[in-house]
């Protein structure tokens, strides 16, 4: 299967009828989530109003993990398939960018929730620490994507880094879990504590996950197409420069060394 990341020839637009429909559905979904998250769902007995943060926090965390899995799979497909299609590379890059964004939302919303519920912005718990590491690792991945070189060089390099991240994350998680299990007393309220979930709350959370998934798909499609167009522009720019230099060289008097 080839990834169809390239927009139609001649177009400079990343939108299509399908993405516009997807965007519209996502917008309606966001309105729906706002209504349920802020209006219809009740406040929690223990966490009170702060529970509403979870309707953003949980879906964004889930989406960030999904995004990084997509990056890893797309990187693997780029590296190990014979065609070495740049489409996979664009998908990997787009997904990682959106993943980093969602992970930032996860960390910020999580620490705000933590401040309200635990009284602390940050706990050195295994899951939190691994998440922070994941965030920094993928910021590094995005930096590697900007190192320069030709498209395939970039694709190969970043694909290897994405696959190394897959190797690294379980090791980081394992080490941090060992570290915490020996050094920290129990958390005030465990993140997945004994909060029994109300039906409407659970429904709002599911709405959140669906809406964020749609948003993720919409953003990744656009970013993937933008990345493709950037590469096209890069190639065209180079071709145009070569044509121009040739024309200069053909003109008499230009390019010859003055005596």
């Amino acid at each position: 299967m080839q990834v169809r990341s390239a927009p139609q020839p001649g177009t400079r637009d990343t939108g299509s009828r399908a993405t516009r429909t997807l965007g519209l559905v996502t917008l309606v979904g966001i309105a729906w989530l706002l209504a349920f998250g802020l209006g219809f769902s009740p406040a929690d007995r223990d966490q009170r109003e702060s529970v509403r943060i979870l309707y953003v926090h949980v879906p964004s965390a889930w989406l960030a993990y999904l995004a990084f899995v997509v990056t890893a799979v797309a990187s693997g497909l780029y590296l190990f398939r014979k065609q070495h299609s740049l489409g996979w590379d664009h998908l990997a890059g787009a997904s990682a960018e959106v993943g980093v964004l969602f992970m930032a939302i996860t960390l910020v919303s999580g620490s705000l929730w933590g401040r309200l519920t635990w009284g602390e912005f940050w706990q050195w718990d295994a899951r939190l620490t691994t998440t922070a590491f994941l965030f920094v690792t993928y910021v590094g991945y995005l930096a590697v994507r900007r190192l320069g070189g030709d498209h395939h060089q970039r694709a190969r390099r970043s694909a290897v880094v994405a696959l190394l991240a897959v190797l690294e994350i379980p090791l980081v998680h394992w080490s941090v879990r060992m570290w915490r299990s020996l050094h920290q007393e129990a958390t005030v309220l465990s993140p997945d504590g004994d909060v029994k979930m109300d039906g409407l709350m659970l429904f709002s959370l599911i709405v959140g996950v669906i809406v964020f998934t749609l948003l993720y798909a919409w953003m990744v499609i656009h970013r993937q197409r933008t990345l493709t167009l950037e590469d096209v522009l890069d190639d065209e720019g180079l071709d145009a420069a070569i044509v121009e230099r040739r024309r200069e060289a053909e003109q008499p008097g230009v390019g010859s060394v003055a005596r």
């Binding site: 190192l147 070189g149 060089q153 694909a159 880094v161 190394l164 941090v176 570290w179 020996l182």
Partner: protein
């Protein structure tokens, strides 16, 4: 040529370059020493410094490793030597292991000297029943750091902005080594717990070393290919 022969040739070449230029002895070692002194200034308490000495030794090693890796690959990239090796058809895995061995040997010496500095400056005391754990952790952590350093050093070699990119890539990756090696050495020295408590931590570091050794063997080729 067999992979082992090539790897050894690359390692010997790197160490020879180092012996002639003396960057590690004249710049990296004094840098590591000043870092150890700065830690003492920042923490400003003999009791605290004594307690956290193993962590400080590994932190100083990490900082120095970055400098060593930058240097090791700057030498290669300056004259396009790495490309020349590739064009000559040299097995990239052999280049990886050659450079990792050279880095590991330099790190191993540096770590011994830093531990010596900790004994002098931080009043760290070595105990006989922890020696086996100390030595095995020293070997495993050195291999782990050398493989990661070489892998990401190769990636950043010859690119603009490598000085700033390398720490961003390497530090999150080596976090397990820092945690594992620190806890194991703490146990070996008896700062926290007994030597028996340190073996799971050694296990963590050893698994890491094996994983990144294998990862580097496979990934170094695509990384330095241009």
């Amino acid at each position: 040529m067999r992979r082992r022969t090539v790897a050894w040739a690359v390692a010997v070449k790197d160490l020879r370059v180092e012996r002639r230029a003396r960057v590690a002895t004249l710049q990296v070692l004094p840098f590591a020493a000043i870092v150890m002194v700065l830690f003492a200034f920042a923490l400003d308490s003999t009791a605290v410094v004594e307690r956290v000495a193993p962590g400080l030794v590994w932190l100083a090693t990490l900082f120095s490793m970055l400098v060593l890796v930058q240097r090791q690959f700057a030498v290669e990239a300056a004259d396009g030597a790495l490309d020349a090796l590739r064009v000559a058809g040299v097995d990239p895995a052999a280049v990886f292991w050659g450079k990792a061995i050279a880095l590991a040997l330099q790190l191993a010496v540096l770590e011994v000297l830093l531990l010596g500095a900790a004994v002098v400056l931080y009043r760290t005391e070595l105990r006989l029943d922890g020696v086996v754990l100390l030595v095995t952790t020293w070997v495993a952590a050195t291999v782990a750091l050398a493989t990661v350093g070489t892998l990401y050093g190769g990636l950043a070699a010859g690119t603009t902005g490598r000085e700033t990119l390398l720490p961003l890539l390497v530090f999150p990756v080596v976090a397990p080594v820092l945690i594992g090696a620190t806890r194991a050495v703490e146990a070996a020295l008896g700062t926290v717990g007994t030597p028996g408590d340190g073996w799971p931590w050694f296990g963590l570091v050893a698994v890491f070393a094996v994983a990144f050794g294998a990862g580097g063997t496979l990934a170094f080729g695509p990384l330095i290919d241009s």
